[in-house]
Point group: none
Chain length 156, copies 2
DNA sequence: GACTTCTTGGTCAGGGAAGGTCAAAACAGC
DNA sequence: GCTGTTTTGACCTTCCCTGACCAAGAAGTC
């Protein structure tokens, strides 16, 4: 691997912008960034996909058409990126309710989550799971728990 | 500094007028607005159709001919006590992504939700929805949005 | 009252301006 | 050479904006 590929440069540039920004999110225009680094626009997508995915603690949202943009959220400013990777790994694509409960307990034990927050997540999870077709419960639990955790952990 | 199209500017202008106004409604003349923003009159219709539809909590009424006008009603937010019931009702069992976005915009407009929070929920929603089997997207969106909203609004 | 004209607003299709996807080529490190 | 990563380009989707044409109400004319 080269010390610094073009993708690495773009990654550093975006992270610097995020550092400067007061807000938790940043808006860029794909064409402009591409022009700045003298590359094709789709290179930006590659960087976003490999460096700014949710496993690494980022969420990317975009809009096409005139006035389009790409918005990047940094879930946790600074450190502890591994927490997000861990959540993605642990939750996975399917999760039983019992596993979800165990996971919540663990997060509370390790002080990533308050007890009240965990209870609320648990209550919501159970309530929604009740209404879901058996065949999809495990998938739904995974998606639900992951989203709620990302939402909660981001404020700390 | 959000990236803004002309439609976004017109939207903000109209909303500012509504905010200033004592009444929940506002009367405009299509030509005048168009002149103000140096665009074609039909651009105003585009803004009304995409930003001030009933999904987003607005009702538009108009009249042609001499002395014609366009009147925009902003539906007042329900009482805070009703918020949960309202969310359950509005989200329902299935929800299209488009409807979810409209609901989020509305909650921000009516100050139930911060702009940053709403953008994050939206980003998470889109991201998770992408990975879900088409046949279940609308059910999943409903469940996800409801959970995230209840999680965020809890405590207000 | 019927006709005409003027004054508004409405609709819709098409071009343009973003961003997305995917597969193949190029490249770097063993 | 083999493998995994990067880079590119062709093609696609979504959203914005305009202009030509349509519809309706008001006011004047006979």
């Amino acid at each position: 691997m080269p010390i610094s590929s073009l993708a690495d440069h773009i990654e550093r540039y975006i992270k610097a912008l995020l550092d400067q920004s007061e807000q938790p999110s940043l808006e860029i225009r794909r064409v402009e960034l591409a022009k700045l680094f003298e590359c094709v626009p789709s290179q930006i997508n590659y960087v976003l996909k490999t460096r700014f995915n949710s496993q690494r603690g980022y969420i990317v949202e975009s809009r096409r058409g005139g006035g389009g943009y790409i918005r990047i959220f940094r879930l946790e400013p600074g450190h502890r990126q591994d927490l997000y990777a861990w959540i993605y790994e642990t939750v996975g694509e399917r999760l039983e309710l019992e596993e979800a409960e165990a996971l919540l307990v663990r997060l509370v034990d390790q002080d990533y989550l308050g007890r009240d927050e965990a209870m609320l997540v648990w209550a919501l999870l159970r309530q929604e799971a009740q209404k879901i077709d058996k065949a999809y419960i495990e998938r739904a639990v995974a998606v639900l728990l992951r989203s709620m955790l990302l939402l909660l952990l981001h404020g700390d």
